[in-house]
């Protein structure tokens, strides 16, 4: 493995990385371009969306060039091939998370998947078919979220409560960036219909302990939805081990195309839910007087689906499985440990979230004293370093920690120590540019 080390930091902890960064970078065409007047692209924004390896781009292109047709319609050869590729990708993605194939529903993204469940729960209240009313949410019921959720796993539940008269409750956060489970037993109670919780925070990096939450939800008969948008791309996730009822995630954050996400649901739960969107593909029999619907997963896939994108996501899963998700996680953990150590050694830098790698993923958010995150991001951008700045679609989280916004770096399979070094040097450069370099002694 070759690591370009331009600036070895004194005493820095740099164990060999589990993944061959140089070989992986060669698989990502975009990483060979330059930005801002010839600078190497240092892409530290995979948490917003990941870059795509050539095999994913090739799979999409091959689909359009050689097999394009609407799946599950028509009897011609292309339709057969398109259906075959679409369903083969479903099987690979199901295998990736240890699920049965009929439990994997394709959505546009995580947001769409959460809304599919939220609208199913309110549609259940008015469903004509008694079999669809089992999970109906109404007045007197409660939905539980956490203060750590990004907007996609918060706003749809606020809206569900507004539509149905149910009450939204939430678990708070501790000062060190963890879920506060001290009142779990009262917040999740016999009125709770569903608990929605993220497995990995997109801003703090925290990996949440799901076992006690799932166990408490089981005691009171509540459903559990796990937001895997930031976990499924970065760590092994097995739905049987989770014990939840739903897992949602986005393809574009795990090397796949935009426009495809996944709603996994336990089959008996999915089968008891009415559809959210209705139309073609999801029907059984249509008469002018009314219609009946297909079983899952087709019931939740109205219209011609994002076929090429699903095929691309299948290729992304192949790529990740080729690397091994255990190694992907170990790789990011090593980078995170190094980044935390190096950033916290810069006077004026404060990490928002767990300060070490215990139960922590690779989202590193921080503030730089005296410089607004937008201005930090601007200086980094000028150096070719792409980070996220702002509230990261998790406004309550930044508010909880008393900062208007943060700068966030996120890592992935092509990230190396040289990228982290560039980030740290970039932060120092921002401090020099804005003339706010604190004394080293205050570190």
């Amino acid at each position: 493995m070759t690591q370009t080390v331009s600036r070895p930091a004194g005493g820095a902890h740099r164990p060999p990385l589990p993944l061959d960064v140089e070989a992986i970078r060669a698989d990502f065409p975009i990483l060979s371009r330059t930005v801002r007047d010839g600078k190497r692209l240092v892409y530290l924004d995979s948490g917003a969306t990941s870059q795509k390896p050539r095999s994913v781009l090739d799979a999409e292109r091959d689909f359009y060039e050689n097999h394009n047709a609407a799946p599950h319609r028509g009897a011609h050869q292309l339709a057969e091939e398109a259906t075959g590729l679409y369903e083969a990708a479903r099987a690979r993605i199901a295998d990736f998370i240890g699920a049965a194939v009929e439990e994997v529903v394709f959505t546009r993204n995580t947001t769409d998947a959460v809304n599919t469940v939220a609208y199913a729960l309110s549609n259940a209240a008015t469903a004509k078919e008694p079999s669809f009313r089992r999970y109906a949410v109404g007045q007197g019921d409660e939905i539980v979220v956490t203060e750590m959720e990004h907007h996609a796993n918060l706003v749809p539940w606020q809206q569900l409560c507004e539509r149905t008269g149910a009450t939204l409750r939430w678990l708070g956060l501790t000062d060190d960036g963890r879920l506060d489970l001290s009142d779990l037993g009262t917040v999740v109670n016999e009125r709770t219909k569903l608990v929605a919780v993220t497995q990995q925070s997109n801003i703090l990096g925290t990996i949440n302990p799901l076992e006690p939450i799932v166990a408490r939800a089981r005691e009171v008969g509540a459903l559990v939805l796990v937001d895997g948008a930031q976990s499924v791309p970065h760590q092994p996730v097995d739905v049987a081990a989770l014990g939840a009822d739903f897992l949602v995630f986005s393809g574009h954050k795990m090397l796949g195309p935009t426009g495809v996400g996944v709603l996994w649901g336990r089959y008996d739960v999915l089968d008891a839910l009415p559809p959210f969107l209705t139309g073609g593909s999801m029907i059984e029999v249509v008469r002018m007087e009314g219609s009946t619907f297909m079983p899952p997963p087709q019931r939740f896939e109205a219209g011609v689906p994002m076929t090429a994108q699903v095929v691309g996501l299948g290729a992304a899963v192949d790529y990740l499985q080729g690397l091994g998700m255990d190694r992907v996680q170990a790789h990011e953990e090593a980078l995170t440990a190094y980044a935390l150590e190096q950033l916290q050694a810069v006077p004026g830098v404060t990490v928002i979230g767990p300060p070490d790698t215990v139960a922590r993923g690779g989202a590193v958010s921080f503030t730089v004293e005296g410089i607004h995150p937008h201005d930090v991001g601007q200086v980094l951008d000028d150096l070719g370093i792409a980070v996220r700045v702002g509230h990261h679609c998790a406004w309550p989280v930044v508010r909880r920690y008393g900062v208007p916004a943060t700068t966030r770096a996120t890592f992935y399979v092509h990230t190396g120590y040289d990228d982290v070094d560039a980030l740290v040097e970039g932060v120092r450069s921002a401090q020099r540019f804005f003339g706010v370099t604190p004394e080293e002694a205050t570190a």
């Binding site: 937008h374 201005d375 700045v389 509230h391 804005f434």
Partner: protein, 160 residues
């Protein structure tokens, strides 16, 4: 390094030593604007003397561009009529849409004074909203202030 074209010394001076900052009495209208993409906020009050903007007072948090912009705006609009101030705002909008064209900045130099230094921001689409937030807040607050002091004039009307 492109940074200097955006962070002109005038901008950094306004950011470090903002003009007119703080919320003051009296005022006819107060508005609160946010930039939902980044969470920057400004609370802005307008005090009119007839049609003339007698005071603009503000509190806010945000990046250097948004904070310097409100400070430079303060210098430009105090003592002007509402229509004049809004016209200056239109000039500033034109500057923000200029994509870094030096000719556009040169043409607007007289109207915009210090604020012409924001020309470099127009090259960065993600930052234009930062510079415009305070002008949007002023437009909103002055329309509301006029509707208080000139109750028969439609909101945002011609004032005189």
């Amino acid at each position: 390094m492109q940074l200097q074209s955006m962070y002109q010394d005038i901008i950094l001076d306004h950011y470090r030593n903002p003009h007119g900052r703080g919320l003051r009495e009296p005022f006819e209208a107060e508005v609160h604007h946010v930039n939902p993409t980044c969470g920057d906020e400004v609370t802005l009050r307008v005090h009119l003397d007839g049609d003339t903007i007698a005071d603009v007072s503000y509190e806010g948090m945000g990046c250097s561009i948004s904070q310097a912009s409100v400070s430079a705006m303060y210098d430009l609009v105090i003592g002007r009529s509402v229509p004049e101030a809004l016209e200056t705002g239109e000039h500033f909008m034109t500057l923000m849409q200029s994509k870094g064209d030096p000719a556009a900045a040169e043409k607007l130099e007289d109207e915009l004074e210090d604020a012409v230094a924001f020309a470099g921001v127009s090259k960065y689409p993600a930052r234009i909203k930062c510079a415009l937030m305070s002008w949007m807040a002023l437009k909103d607050a002055s329309a509301r202030a006029l509707s208080v002091t000139h109750p028969t004039t439609p909101t945002g009307g011609q004032g005189a």
